[in-house]
Each structure stands twice: as structure tokens, then as C-alpha cells.
Symmetry: C2
Subunit: 104 residues, 2 copies
């Protein structure tokens, strides 16, 4: 989770997940690590993550179907439920299509 | 920079800027703050930012023209130049169109 994702030439999709945390730990760190591991599914292109006052995790995907499958993954659904109930004060998920990129 | 951006209903645009830093300070913090202040231009919808191993700053925009104007801002161009030369080991800019969002 500690490097810039090595994504292919656009177009591809980005799921921008921004959140603020409660003080509840209850397996948060382990689940976060496990979700990154579990997300390595067909269509997964990479992930970037950092947290200060807000946490931002951007995962990259080949297409919308891959995102839909990941959202519906059973273990991920459990994590989403606990996230809503315990770990997050607030969060926002934004599904976006990357049209252009550049960098060094 | 410390909260989840209060963006309008999609569609709108997200510029995902991911970077790894060098050890060079040379005005980095001041410039980063100044850029957030300066970005409050027509079409700017909000910004979210966090840094650990990588820094992720996502800025939100009404349309591609607003992004183009921001990229071409004179003071921002200077900052981009110093960024490439001194502050960043590597970075990636991804221009994306947010098609859907949800949250709590």
C-alpha cells in the first residue's frame, strides 16, 4: 500500500474512498490489510492509501464490473457492515473513470 | 484539508495526485498550503489530502476547463516546476470523471 500504483494506460476506473475514523479499533487494522489482500481479484489494477485527519484509499480497476464484483464479495460485505457501524464516523465512495494520466 | 469534501451530485471531476517526497523541504509546506488556498477558483469543488508513505491529494472540479485553468495558473506552474525538480521523487496525476458516489 506504500507506493504509487503502476496502472496501465487509461481509460480505467478509480474508486476513491475517503473516511474519518471513530476511536473503535476492534479488528480495524487487520481487516484493512486483509481487504487489500482480498481485493487482488480479476480486474484489480492497484491501490494507494494514506491517512492523516482523513483516510484516502484509491483502488484502480479495469472496468465497472470488476468494481461491482469486489463490492459484492462476501468477506468485503462483512467489512463494509462493520465499517458503517463501528469504524467510520463518515465516509464517501466515489466511482470515477480515469481519462488521462501523467507523471514522473 | 482535513475533512471529506462536500461535493455536489455527480457528474464532476477528480484530479488524483499521488506522490512520494524527497527529503528536500525548501518551502514545501508553505507552498502546499498556498496551493490549497489558491485553488479556490471558479469550478473548484473541494479537496482531500493525506500523506504517509505516499501522499494523496484529490481535488474536485466542476469541469475539465476548470482543471485546465488551475493547471495553467502562473503561481501553480512555478510550484509544479519546483515539485518536479526538488520535492517529489515520483508522482502521478490522474484526471477522472466521477460518475457515482455514496456514503454516510
Amino acid at each position: 500500500m506504500s507506493a504509487i500504483a503502476n496502472t496501465p494506460k487509461p481509460p480505467y476506473f478509480a474508486v476513491i474512498f475517503t473516511s474519518t475514523r471513530t476511536k473503535v479499533e476492534k479488528g480495524y487494522g487487520e481487516t484493512a490489510d486483509r481487504m487489500v489482500e482480498l481485493a487482488q481479484q480479476p480486474g484489480f489494477l492497484g491501490v494507494e492509501s494514506a491517512r492523516e485527519d482523513v483516510g484516502i484509499t484509491v483502488s484502480y480497476w479495469r472496468d465497472l464490473d470488476s468494481i461491482k464484483n469486489w463490492k459484492a464479495n462476501t468477506e468485503h460485505l462483512d467489512a463494509q457492515k462493520t465499517g458503517r457501524k463501528s469504524w467510520y464516523d463518515s465516509f464517501k465512495v466515489r466511482i470515477s473513470k480515469v481519462e488521462r494520466d501523467y507523471g514522473i
